[in-house]
Every structure is written in structure tokens, then in C-alpha cells.
């Protein structure tokens, strides 16, 4: 039994023969290359956690390592979403943190003292090596030629589509999730082929791990049932199918329900209903097959089939009914927006506002998987030749994943593995054909005409049975060495270009930790712009331990991670209303926003302003989203229309609307900005417009800090006036102009009432 467990993992990768050793070394080299090509950012900058979400994961991991697993499980985080707090332990996918925690403790047990940060930084590259190996196993299930697996592993190792989310420092769920995805699929195919409970259970186990690691597990939850459904429709129902699926579904569902964040979703939400439905369908079909095998009668069989269809229809109707009646939660917005692509823009501005939820243009595809993208269809076509269950899986996966990745940029991640596999299939087929040394002997006329009069019979036969046109003629092989060499050399050239491309993309596009910006000086030398960390360090050193920082939600995780200060909202956007509150405070005038800030005990307000440096990702450019989100909750008080001029332009110069000029965000961004420039030359380098010479006036907040390049500006919220004046009056008194004495009293006297 044990060797049956071990054997498939090691099949071909070890062995007594040199071939096996060669394979093993190749795999090791591939893993090394995969890891090495992800270290650009560490070498260029330093071992630092990257953009936004990783900072939260890093913080959570530190909490886990310090306080142990149970505290982490019950973690109530009182330093985010002030004053609501967040039940963090119950609302995150703990897989990532637990994984690195285990690694940390294991290393400590081995007396290797290592900083948890370095583990977090290097986790993604490490797992990318494993992903390459999983891809190798997966591909081996697909094709007989061993080179396919190695090619797929190599592709997976260096494909930018996967590197984009797994460079060193991008410590995000995807880092381990992709490995789990591929490996779960491998186990599924294995279970399906062998039809054994053990493999099904293993598959369920890794599925559970996947659920604990990434919200994208829903992809598996829907892909495997779809595969099974297609197989049943093709009449491929078999006991193996039944056993593997039932095992996977039962155990996998139980496993997934152990994650607090998932909880009862697998039986309550529509995303998971397909799996449940296919489970029921399998029971029916299995029952029918059983009865048929026992009772041989055609009519009875047809009757049974009718019965099955009826039950299926009834069950489906019941499901729809339950969904409508709300017993089963309707689809979550993020998931729903995948089908009705216009949905998010109208209903859930928060989702629509995230850049990685945008649709994908074709250059992104080509950018992320250069020549694989056109080898991909060929590989899928190749799967139609020998259409066994696993090939069907490849086809289904290919279509589904390419649709999803077309709708959402971030789902390119789920497409990449199958692209690598398919491309590897076709490429290995090509190489096997064109690299075989022995050429077939040139046919003589005799066997040519023999073939010619022999041909019709088999070809007709083939046409009747074997579907694919390409396969009608019998395989001959390549005659001349010239053609072999030409094709092979061309392929080698393409592959070399692919490697160069991957390296170039990785080093230029995917290796900058958007915390530290790098720019080129005129003399070509690199100049590091470190305003973020400067500002967060300032907060950490100059503010109270529990000073509440209000900023737009993009920076919540970074403030929590780097500045270690409580924030109002952060990148885990679980409470739309709270975010809308911040949006309202930012987008309305000081008189309106000051009470809001008082109520939420805000001490400092942080805005990101790129006007001086030409840094386009600043808050003024995100401002409209704040307005929209706020308008979703307070349609009467915040109106997007008021931020556009009569001619419908979004302007910030003197042509800006009154609402725009009054808004707190505008004031905080441009406060004192004109003082930098000689009069008449004050200009905003992002919007590329000339700013008015008269800067905005702030009464309720005062400037506390502005970073070197003005990217981050921090304001302190003033306390109420000590002698009970409103802030405008107090500020004008500070500026030294006296209050007008009301000499002429018009109208009736205002009398003092106690």
C-alpha cells in the first residue's frame, strides 16, 4: 500500500536509471531557477514586504507567532476599523499565516534562528518551486511523454503570469494558493484515474488546505463538479468517477467548513450549489446504473432515465426556489460580478474601484505568458486526440479559466497553470516528433500505391470512428534531417526569447515593492523615493500609541503594519458603511467632516498627494471613488455631479467646482502647495494644470507633517476651541484680524436665554 502512495510522486523522478537521475536534477534546477528569478526585488531594494495586503498578512503572522494559535484563532483586532474593531481571527484565511508560522517554529526547533519577516518575504519563491513540481506531476498525468512534464514545470517556474503574484516579498494568499490549486487538481485527476478512496481523500485534504489559504478555492469548487458533469453528459459515468467525486465532496466540504470565515457557506451560498447538485446527480446516475446492471430491460432503463431527469429537474427547481426565498444566500458580489460584468460598477463601487478587478486587455495576456498564449490553443486541440477523462478536464479548465481571466486581471493567476500544461503538451509533442534520430525509409512506389489502395478503407473507417481529421493518415515520421533541424532550432530560438522575456518582465514590471518607489535621475542613476516609510516612521515616533489615523482604505494595512497605529478603514473592505463614512468626511466641507472626525476620535488625517512629483496614484485621482462610495450611502449629502464642472470635466485648478474646492481632501492636498512656487507658476504635475495662487484655508485641522516629496501629508485634527468659538472664528483671530463689532443692530434684539 505504502509504495502505491509514494510511487506516483516519484514516478520517473527517481529511479536507478540515469534517465531518472537526470529528471530529478532537471526538476531541482527548475525549482532553483523559479526561486532565483523572484529575488530581483530583494537584491534591488531590500528584504521588504510589498504593497498592501501583504502588510496585513505579515502583521497577522507576527501576531500568530507571538501569541500562539488559539489567540490567533480568536483574535479580535482593536487597532483596525476603529471603533468597530474587526473579528480578524474569524474573517481571514489562516492558511498562509499558519504555514509560515509552522516553518518558523520548525526552523527554531532545528536551532536555526531566523527572522519571521524573512520567512514571510521568501515564502512565495519557495512555494513557486513546489508549484513547478506539482505542475510536473499534473502534466505527467496528462501525457505519456515525460518531456511534457518537465517543460510544463519549467514554464510554470518562470511564467510572468505567476511571478506577478509570487515575487519575494509579495506575501499574499496567492503565494501558496497556486501550488495548492495545481496539486489539488493533480490529486483529483489521480483519484479519478485510479478510482480509489485514498486519492480522493488526499484530494479533499489539499482542497481543505486550499480553502484555508485563499478565497479562490471557489474556482476548484466549481471546476471539479463541472468536469464531472461534463463526463456524465458524455456518458463517461463509471464507478471510479462516483467514488472519487463522492469522497472528495464529502470530505472536502467538511474540511472547508472548519474555516471560521467559510463556516456554513458550502451549504448556504450559491457558489457552492453546483458541487452539491452534481453530488446529488451522481447519486441518481449511480443508482440507475446499478438497477440497470441488475435488471436487463430496455424499457425499464428508459423509464429510469426519465425518472432521473425528473428528479434532477425537481431538485434544480427546489434549489432555485431556495435561492429566491433567500434560504440559500445569493451570490456574493465579487463572484456575481464575474458573470454579470456590468454589475459591480453599478452596485458595488468598492469592488469596481479595485484595479485588479478590471477586465484584461490582450497585451496583458501576451505580457504575462508570451508564446505560451498561442501554444495554448494548440495544446488544447491536442487534448482532443486522446479524449480520456483527464484530457476532458484540461479542456474544461482551459475554457473556464480563460473566460475568468478575461473578466478579471487577477484571475490570470488561475489561467497560467493550464496554459503552461497545454503549451508543454504541444511543445513536447513537437520535440518528440522532430528530435527522433531515426528517419523512416523513403517509401517505394509499390508500397505507395499499396498505401493508396489500402488507404481508403482505414481512412473511411477512421473518419467514422476517430473524430479528428489530423489523425486520419497513419503516422510516418519526418524524413529529412534538414526539416528536423530547422524546426527544432526555430523552437529553441522561441524558447530562448521566452526566457529573456520572462526575465525582463519580472525585473521591470513585477519586482518593485510599491512601498518604495524607484526613479531614474537624469544621469541614469537610480533614485529611491521613500516617502511612505518616512511618513509611517514619523507616525510611529511622534504620535500617541493609540492615535487614530484616518486615511483612504488603501493605506490602512500599511499604516497598521508599518506605523502600528489604529486606522478607521483598511484594505479588508468588510464594512461598506464605515468606508463610506470616511469617504464622506473626505469629500465634504470642513464643517460637515469635523463632527464626523470628532465622533470617530480621529487624531490625524493622512492623504497621499502626488502633485509635486507627478505620482499619479494619489488621492485626488482616487477621489471620485470616495465620492461614489459615499454617495451610495448618503445620496442627498454627497453628489458626484457636484464635483464635475458644468461641462462635465473633473478639474482641480481654479475652474474646479465650489464643492470640490470646499472638500476636505482638496484642501488637505493643496494646502500651502502654492508656497512652494513663485507666484503664478504653481502647478500640479499629475493633473498637469496650473493651480490658483490663493491656496485653500484650513480651520479644523493643522498640518503636522509633509514628507520629503510631498507624497504623504499628515494633518492633526484640532480640538474644540477652548473658549467656545467655532474654528473659523478662532482661526481668523489667530490670523490676527479682529472680529467686527456689531455697531448697527438690524432686526429685533437677540435675547440671551438660559
Amino acid at each position: 500500500m505504502s509504495d502505491t502512495i509514494v510511487e506516483p510522486f516519484l514516478k520517473g523522478s527517481t529511479g536507478r536509471n540515469t534517465r531518472g537521475i537526470l529528471r530529478l536534477s532537471i526538476l531541482v534546477l527548475i525549482a532553483a531557477a523559479a526561486i532565483a528569478s523572484r529575488l530581483f526585488s530583494v537584491i534591488r531594494f531590500e528584504s521588504i514586504i510589498h504593497e498592501f495586503d501583504p502588510w496585513f498578512n505579515f502583521r497577522a503572522t507576527k501576531y500568530l507567532v507571538q501569541n500562539g494559535f488559539y489567540d490567533f484563532w480568536d483574535w479580535f483586532d482593536d487597532r483596525t476599523w476603529h471603533p468597530l474593531g474587526r473579528v480578524t481571527g474569524g474573517t481571514l484565511y489562516p492558511g498562509l499565516m499558519v504555514t509560515s508560522g509552522i516553518i518558523y517554529h520548525a526552523l527554531r526547533a532545528l536551532t536555526i534562528p531566523v527572522d519571521i519577516r524573512n520567512i514571510c518575504v521568501l515564502l512565495a519563491p519557495g512555494f513557486s518551486g513546489l508549484t513547478a513540481y506539482a505542475t510536473y506531476l499534473f502534466t505527467n498525468e496528462m501525457s505519456t511523454s515525460p518531456s511534457a512534464g518537465l517543460l510544463a514545470a519549467a514554464f510554470m517556474g518562470i511564467a510572468p503570469g505567476y511571478i506577478s503574484r509570487s515575487v519575494a516579498g509579495s506575501y499574499d494568499n496567492e503565494a501558496i494558493a497556486i501550488f495548492l490549486l495545481v496539486f489539488t487538481f493533480f490529486l483529483w485527476i489521480k483519484a479519478l484515474k485510479v478510482g480509489s478512496v485514498m486519492w480522493g481523500a488526499l484530494c479533499a485534504l489539499f482542497y481543505g488546505y486550499m480553502v484555508s489559504a485563499w478565497g479562490g478555492y471557489v474556482f476548484i469548487t466549481n471546476l471539479i463538479p463541472l468536469h464531472v458533469f461534463v463526463l456524465v453528459c458524455m456518458g463517461r459515468f463509471s464507478p471510479r468517477l462516483y467514488v472519487s467525486y463522492c469522497t472528495w465532496y464529502a470530505l472536502g466540504t467538511l474540511a472547508s467548513m472548519q474555516i471560521p470565515f467559510v463556516g456554513f457557506l458550502p451549504i448556504r451560498s450559491s457558489e457552492h450549489m453546483s458541487a452539491l447538485g452534481v453530488f446529488g446527480l451522481l447519486q441518481l446516475v449511480g443508482f440507475v446504473e446499478f438497477v440497470r446492471s441488475g435488471v436487463p430491460s430496455k424499457q425499464f432503463a428508459t423509464l429510469l432515465r426519465g425518472f432521473v431527469l425528473a428528479v434532477f429537474a425537481i431538485a434544480f427547481g427546489g434549489l432555485v426556489l431556495l435561492t429566491v426565498s433567500g434560504v440559500i444566500a445569493p451570490w456574493t458580489g465579487r463572484f456575481y460580478s464575474l458573470w454579470d460584468t456590468g454589475y459591480a460598477k453599478i452596485h458595488i463601487p468598492i469592488i469596481a474601484s479595485v484595479s485588479e478587478h478590471q477586465p484584461t486587455a490582450w497585451p496583458a495576456f501576451f505580457f504575462d505568458l508570451n508564446l505560451l498564449i498561442w501554444l495554448f490553443p494548440a495544446g488544447v486541440y491536442l487534448c482532443f486526440l486522446k479524449l480520456a477523462d483527464e484530457q476532458v478536464f484540461v479542456v474544461v479548465y482551459a475554457i473556464l479559466a480563460s473566460y475568468f481571466s478575461g473578466v478579471m486581471v487577477r484571475l490570470m493567476l488561475t489561467l497560467t497553470p493550464i496554459v503552461c500544461v497545454a503549451a508543454a503538451l504541444v511543445l513536447s509533442h513537437l520535440l518528440d516528433t522532430y528530435l527522433s534520430i531515426k528517419s523512416p525509409s523513403a517509401p517505394t512506389d509499390a508500397d505507395i500505391d499499396a498505401a493508396s489502395n489500402a488507404a481508403p478503407a482505414p481512412s473511411k473507417k477512421a473518419a467514422k470512428q476517430d473524430g479528428l481529421r489530423a489523425m486520419r493518415e497513419p503516422l510516418v515520421g519526418i524524413y529529412t534531417t534538414f526539416s528536423k533541424t530547422s524546426v527544432v532550432s526555430a523552437l529553441t530560438a522561441y524558447l530562448l526569447i521566452f526566457v529573456l522575456h520572462c526575465t525582463w518582465v519580472t525585473s521591470n514590471a513585477y519586482s518593485s515593492p510599491s512601498v518604495v518607489l524607484a526613479s531614474r535621475m537624469p544621469d541614469g542613476s537610480q533614485h529611491i523615493i521613500d516617502d511612505y516609510r518616512e511618513a509611517y516612521q514619523w507616525l510611529r515616533q511622534n504620535t500617541k500609541e493609540d492615535a487614530k489615523i484616518m486615511s483612504w482604505w488603501d493605506y490602512g494595512y500599511q499604516i497598521g503594519g508599518m506605523a502600528d497605529r489604529p486606522t478607521l478603514v483598511d484594505n479588508n473592505t468588510w464594512n461598506n458603511t464605515h468606508i463610506a463614512t470616511v469617504g464622506k468626511a473626505m469629500s465634504s466641507s470642513e464643517e460637515v467632516s469635523y463632527p464626523i472626525m470628532r465622533q470617530h476620535e480621529v487624531d490625524y488625517v493622512l492623504v497621499v498627494f502626488g502633485g509635486l512629483l507627478g505620482y499619479s496614484g494619489d488621492d485626488i485621482n482616487k477621489f471620485l471613488w470616495m465620492v461614489r462610495i459615499a454617495e451610495g450611502i448618503w445620496p442627498d449629502e454627497v453628489k458626484e455631479r457636484d464635483f464635475f464642472t458644468e461641462r462635465g470635466e473633473y478639474r482641480v485648478d481654479e475652474g474646479a467646482t465650489e464643492t470640490m474646492k470646499k472638500s476636505l481632501m482638496y484642501k488637505m492636498s493643496y494646502y500651502n502647495y502654492n508656497a512652494l512656487f513663485p507666484p503664478g507658476q504653481c502647478q500640479d504635475r499629475v493633473r498637469g494644470v496650473k493651480m490658483p495662487d490663493q491656496g485653500p484655508v484650513l480651520n479644523t485641522v493643522e498640518e503636522a507633517f509633509t514628507s520629503e516629496n510631498w507624497i504623504i501629508r499628515i494633518y492633526k485634527v484640532k480640538d474644540l476651541d477652548n473658549v467656545g468659538r467655532d474654528h473659523a472664528a478662532a482661526a481668523s483671530f489667530e490670523r490676527g484680524n479682529k472680529k467686527k463689532k456689531t455697531t448697527k443692530r438690524r432686526g429685533p434684539k437677540v435675547l440671551r436665554v438660559e
Partner: protein
């Protein structure tokens, strides 16, 4: 000489006497020191109460309210200057900074010399308005002193003030018997705006008083600046940081002349006070109360220690002020309050009709509870309350926000986190009665499954022989299924057309040879795999095995019958041959017999 003596004496007294709760450095601003004589009694009282009084002229360059950014004095008393300005050191800005830094200011006005513009604009900032014409003064034709102002009517006699609200402590009513009278000579009345909640008038003008400018003639009376109680004679403003600022409309009322002086009130409205006799003014006592309040000698609240702790089921935990609670915890909160009166801290008790409240709030109060005095020490009262936390996790504040007129502000905020139930704090499933059906259900399922498996293993063991039939039958069974479903586009591998499942027997006999050649799907799962066949496969194999067994017996019977038929026919034609041969034999014998004869 006597000054110095008395000064030393008073300084000595000061050491034994009490002082204000917030320092005793008092700066008196008056233009020329000779004026001190006018206020000797008043200032004497102050020094007797232990204030270190230093006198400065606004003209003095070295006069500074702040040194090195810190307050140089704790209290400031401004006596009206003759000149129009107050000099560079007493600008509204500095005075306001002085207040913001926690210093107290007692400002006195006088109608004889116009108020400096600086002070006017300062008062405007505080929403206190002075008459537009600088020399206006308060007159009252019904309550005036007949002795001093029989014709000008500008010495207003006012009784001790009542509390502005019944539930507010009144520090200014002396012995409380009433009948005491305050002389308010030639004072400037102020009006208060409505915006600022920090303003409170101590002394209001009588109903019949009004502000009037002697320099102008009657038209001033047409539209007086303010009339009656709207006209505040003594106004206080207590800033948010409890710094106190008092405006006394008439500096004259602090002069010695009026401290001991006798007054006789005029005939009032509705004939009150007819035949009133001369009485001694209570200016001295009143001035002491007002000054004492302004310089933090009375009405100052102090918060002692604040404690909150878990109080689950009556058993209070010994951890005080924990940072985190759980929803629905029982919590006890206690705060210690004491009040300063002249020279000592005494327990604070709110006036009747008023109560100290505790708010437990996140964004908005979830609880607002009255705090009840539990224990009283000689210097303080400890207020406490117990309650159950709301069923809402978040970051909450214990907040005591007690702001009353004439009492210094109490605003105490203690932040605690209220967390959700941890995963092991819920009741276990068997405790919940309504969960029992499910628990039993689980039990039944488990036992049933075990029993089923046991039964199954026994059954399979019984016909293990049948199971031994090799896998090709089982694949063929699959194929028969695929055929009969007939919905596969691709699996057209097997040459023989549609086979209905009842002919599967013949199939099994005919199939295997073609089986292996066909590139069909199920081949991929060829029985070479060494792991044990699972239940469903065994099932199918059993049915097949049983079927073939029956079939074989049928075959045997038919075989025997055919054999029988063959042997019968063989025997018959043997008989025929025997008969023919006998005939031959007979014939030959007959031939032989002919030959021999």
C-alpha cells in the same frame, strides 16, 4: 512703613492660611500703584487668603504673562486703566493664551474711564458685548442708593443672586437668609451672546435697570443698549480647560468705600422697600466669593482614581482596569470625586436634582447610567455603578462628562476593547437540548455505517471466488453502460454496434480481444492498477459471476442431451448394418449349397 509691616504680617498669615487649588501667584494690573489704597481692603483680603500678589503697571515693559513659554502667574486681576491701551503685553492674543494655558483672569470695568479696545475685542471673542458708547453705565430708577446717588440713580442696589437653575450650585448667596444687598456703583453692563455655552452671568441687573449714556441726551433712552435681566453685571466664562474668566462691571464696588459703606435703597416698583433703613453693603463678602471662585478657591472638582473591573456573577476579579472585556460581561465602574472649598478638599455631592452620569459609548452611548455614591472618605466621594456590557464588540469608552456652571469640568474617558466570544466560550453542543436530535443522528449514522461495512465484508468474503474474476469483465461492463447511454460523441471505439445490456454475456465472451485494441476511455483505467477494487466494482462483478455460473449449467445439460441423441442414432444405423450383413451371409450360404450338389 505700615504697608510693609502689614504685608509681612499677611505673608506670614498666608503660610498658615489656605491658597487657591491652582497656585497662588497673582498679578494685579493697575496703572499707578497709588490706586492700591483705594482697593486696600480687597487686596488685603486676597493676601490674607495667601496669594502672592505682585503689582504691575501695563506701561511696564518688563511685564510679561509668560516666561520661557510657561505661565508666569496663576491668576490675573485687571483693574481699569485710565489710558486707552493696555500696552504690548496684555493684547487679547496674550490674554487668550493665558486662559488657554489655564490661567484665571478677573477683569474689572468702569464707566468712568472707557474700556481699552483690546479688552473690548477680547470680550467680543468670548461673545460678551459691551455698550457701543464707551461711557454708558447702568442706571435704575427703582433700586438705587438714595444716599450716594439720589439724583443720578447710578448706584444700583442688587440683592444676592439666586441660582440660575434650581439644580445648579450657588456659591454667591452668602448666608442665604437674603436681605443682604450689593451696591453696584456706576458699572458697565454686558450682554451675552447665545452661541457660547461657557458663559454664565453671576449677577444680573434688576428688571427696571437699563444701560444709559450720561453724555448723550434722551435719545439714548429711546433705544437702550440692553434692559433688565438681559443686562449682566458680573459675567463668568469657564473655558473647556476649566480656566476661569470673570468680568465685574464696576471696579468701584471693590473699593474700600463700598466695602464697609452704608446704603439706603429707594422706593422700588410696586412700592417695595418703602421706609427701608440704612444697611451695610455685603460687597466685601460677595467680592470674596466672586474672586474666590475666579481664582479656583471654590467650585473646583478633582477626579481621584478611576477603577473598572470584571464582576462576573458577583465575584469581582482582582484585575483592575483591564484593557479588554468580552461582550455581555458584568462590569463595575467607580470614580472618585472631591471638591475644593477655600482651603481643603471635601467630598463632592452634586446639588439636589443633579446626578453624575456614566456613559458607555462607541460612536454613540450604549448605556447612560447614574453613578451612585458608595463610600465617602474625608476628602472625596466614590461614585460607582455596575452593569452588563452590550452585545456588541468594538472599542468602547467609559465616559464621565460632568460639566455644570460654576463647577470645573470633569471629562474622563477610559477606553476598553470589548471582544467577541472566543471559540471555546460557547456552550458545548450536548448542553444545548435542541442539539440532541442531531447528536443522536450522528451516532445513528456512524453505527449504521459500521454495521453496513461489517455486513458487506462478510458477504464479499462469502463469494470471494466470484470476485476473483479478472477486471476485463468489469471494463466490458462499463462499456456496455456507455453504449446504452449512447450520448458519447467520442467513444466510438468498439467496432461492434449498439449492444443492449442483456447481451452482455455474449459480449463478455466476444469482447476481450477487441477490448485491448480499442483506444477507449476506460482502457486508461486498465485493471493493471494494483490497488483493491472498491465496493461498486465488486457488486457488478458478483452479479456477472452469478449470471455466468447459471449459464454454464444450462450449457452442460444441453450438451448431454445432444450426446444422447447422437449415440441413439449411431446405434440405429449399426442395427441396420447388422441386418444387411446377415442377409449377405444367408445368400452366400445358399450359393455354397448349390455348388456342392
Amino acid at each position: 512703613m505700615r504697608w510693609i509691616l502689614s504685608f509681612l504680617l499677611l505673608a506670614f498669615l498666608a503660610t498658615v492660611q489656605a491658597i487657591s487649588s491652582s497656585g497662588n501667584k497673582l498679578l494685579v494690573v493697575l496703572e499707578d500703584l497709588s490706586e492700591k489704597t483705594k482697593y486696600s481692603k480687597y487686596l488685603g483680603d486676597l493676601e490674607a487668603r495667601g496669594f502672592k500678589v505682585s503689582y504691575e503697571s501695563p506701561k511696564n515693559e518688563k511685564l510679561a504673562l509668560f516666561e520661557l513659554g510657561e505661565r508666569a502667574y496663576d491668576h490675573l486681576l485687571i483693574l481699569p486703566p485710565k489710558s486707552k491701551g493696555l500696552g504690548p503685553q496684555l493684547t487679547p492674543k496674550f490674554l487668550l493664551d493665558f486662559i488657554n494655558a489655564g490661567g484665571n483672569i478677573l477683569l474689572t470695568l468702569s464707566s468712568s474711564h472707557p474700556t481699552p479696545t483690546g479688552l473690548v475685542s477680547l470680550l467680543l471673542e468670548l461673545d460678551i458685548h459691551l455698550p457701543t458708547d464707551r461711557t454708558a453705565l447702568v442706571v435704575d430708577h427703582f433700586n438705587y442708593d438714595t444716599l450716594s446717588a439720589s439724583d443720578k440713580h447710578d448706584v444700583v442696589l442688587v440683592p444676592r443672586p439666586d441660582a440660575i437653575r434650581p439644580d445648579v450650585k450657588n456659591f454667591f448667596r452668602g448666608d442665604g437668609k437674603g436681605g443682604e444687598v450689593i451696591a453696584f456703583p456706576r458699572g458697565v453692563g454686558q450682554t451675552l451672546g447665545n452661541k457660547s455655552p461657557l458663559l454664565t452671568p453671576i449677577l444680573r441687573a434688576p428688571r427696571t435697570a437699563y444701560s444709559y449714556n450720561p453724555k448723550e441726551d434722551v435719545e439714548g433712552v429711546e433705544d437702550p443698549f440692553a434692559v433688565g435681566p438681559q443686562l449682566s453685571l458680573i459675567t463668568t466664562m469657564q473655558a473647556r480647560n476649566s480656566a476661569r474668566f470673570t468680568v465685574i462691571g464696576s471696579s468701584e464696588m471693590l473699593e474700600d468705600a463700598w466695602f464697609g459703606g452704608k446704603v439706603k435703597r429707594s422706593v422700588g416698583l410696586g412700592g417695595v422697600g418703602i421706609g427701608a433703613k440704612e444697611v451695610k453693603t455685603s460687597n466685601q463678602a460677595f467680592a470674596q466669593e466672586v474672586t474666590g471662585w475666579t481664582f479656583n478657591e471654590i467650585g473646583v472638582l478633582k477626579v481621584g482614581k478611576i477603577e473598572h473591573h470584571l464582576n462576573e456573577g458577583g465575584a469581582s476579579s482582582n484585575i483592575t482596569n483591564p484593557k479588554i472585556y468580552r461582550v455581555k460581561n458584568d462590569v463595575t465602574y467607580s470614580i472618585e470625586l472631591s471638591e475644593y472649598s477655600w482651603d481643603k478638599w471635601v467630598p463632592f455631592t452634586p446639588p439636589t436634582g443633579d446626578v453624575v452620569q456614566l456613559e458607555f459609548s462607541m460612536l454613540s452611548p450604549f448605556h447612560r447610567l447614574p453613578l451612585t455614591p458608595s463610600t465617602t472618605t474625608e476628602t472625596s466621594t466614590i461614585y460607582t455603578t455596575s452593569f452588563k456590557l452590550p452585545d456588541q464588540h468594538g472599542i468602547f469608552n467609559f465616559k464621565v462628562n460632568y460639566k455644570r456652571p460654576f463647577l470645573s469640568n470633569v471629562e474622563e474617558k477610559n477606553t476598553v476593547t470589548v471582544r467577541h466570544f472566543a471559540h471555546d466560550e460557547w456552550p458545548r453542543s450536548w448542553v444545548i437540548t435542541s442539539a440532541w436530535p442531531w447528536i443522536t443522528g450522528i451516532g445513528v449514522t456512524v453505527t449504521g455505517w459500521v454495521a453496513f461495512v461489517a455486513l458487506w465484508l462478510w458477504k464479499t468474503a462469502s463469494n470471494a471466488a466470484a470476485v476473483l474474476l479478472s477486471g476485463d469483465t468489469f471494463t466490458s461492463e462499463n462499456l456496455s453502460i456507455t453504449r446504452s447511454l449512447q450520448s458519447t460523441p467520442h467513444d466510438t471505439a468498439s467496432p461492434n454496434p449498439l449492444v443492449s445490456s442483456d447481451s452482455s454475456v455474449s459480449m463478455t465472451s466476444t469482447r476481450p480481444s477487441k477490448q485491448r485494441s480499442s483506444p477507449s476511455s476506460s482502457q486508461s483505467s486498465s485493471p493493471k492498477t494494483s490497488n483493491p477494487p472498491d465496493r461498486v466494482e465488486k457488486r457488478t462483478r458478483n452479479t456477472l459471476a452469478a449470471r455466468r455460473y447459471r449459464q454454464r449449467r444450462l450449457d452442460e445439460v444441453s450438451g448431454l442431451e445432444t450426446q444422447l441423441k447422437d449415440t441413439r442414432s449411431e446405434r440405429d444405423d449399426l442395427k441396420v448394418r447388422v441386418a444387411r450383413l446377415e442377409g449377405e451371409v444367408e445368400a452366400l450360404r445358399a450359393l455354397l449349397a448349390k455348388r456342392s450338389e
